[in-house]
Symmetry: C2
Subunit: 142 residues, 2 copies
């Protein structure tokens, strides 16, 4: 099995009135122009599921469902997966030095951040074009 090494570039901070990504000093130059984007992707490490048992599970129950259907982990955004990399599209509210203030994130305070990418028009799919299994249909109304 081929393996690769990744390292933390920042951290998720959840405070009472705000949440933000704090990028480590070593990487702050990499933020140049980031404030000009309205949306970004945050790639983060799902530390709580970084263990041999969770990483070997192939089936999971997708989060936020009313049923308990078991799907493949690759058909789910479940935090249980072979490589516990979280992916969240967020709205970038403002930037203060090495802090990216965002609207929300489904990660807990202290979560390691792996990468930030700008959200580009090509990432968008019109909601009418998106097909989902029927147990996901309620997400269309959210």
């Amino acid at each position: 099995m081929t393996s690769f090494g990744i390292h933390q570039i920042g951290v998720v901070k959840i405070e009472k009135e705000a949440c933000y990504i704090e990028i480590s000093q070593l990487y702050t130059t990499g933020l140049r122009h980031i404030e000009q984007f309205s949306h970004i992707y945050v790639l983060w490490w799902i530390s709580m599921r970084d263990n041999p048992l969770d990483r070997s599970q192939m089936l999971a129950t997708p989060p936020k469902l009313k049923t308990s259907i078991e799907t493949g982990v690759f058909s789910s955004r479940s935090p249980t997966r072979p490589n516990p990399i979280g992916l969240t599209k967020v709205k970038l509210l403002r930037v203060e030095n090495n802090k990216l203030y965002i609207d929300r994130i489904d990660a807990i305070d202290g979560t390691p951040v792996l990468d930030i990418k700008p959200y580009l028009p090509g990432d968008s799919v019109s909601v009418d074009e998106i097909k989902l299994p029927e147990w996901f249909d309620h997400l269309k109304e959210e």
Copy 2:
């Protein structure tokens, strides 16, 4: 610096008439129900940039631009970045056993695949809402 280990779960295959993701036998159970999604995210390892020099660059020229502006790597989808994880939203055309046929991908034949995630309505941002630096404006017309 905190580091984490990730491993390959499949491979990108580019053939003359088709491109697909081939998931390793160990992980095929994780594909259950995937054929019910129209779009997926592919997370892949940018092997060609997995070297100390590329991984320490903090500035890059975004791909597909007519100018040569230098932005931070986190403001760019450049393959040069501290953690060379590629992210591509693709259209899922059909599934045959452990092969996911897709419309296109910006990775070369043989590229290691790290994760597959379903594209959900919450990943979509209306093109009118997306703000970009002016040198990215041409992407809106693509």
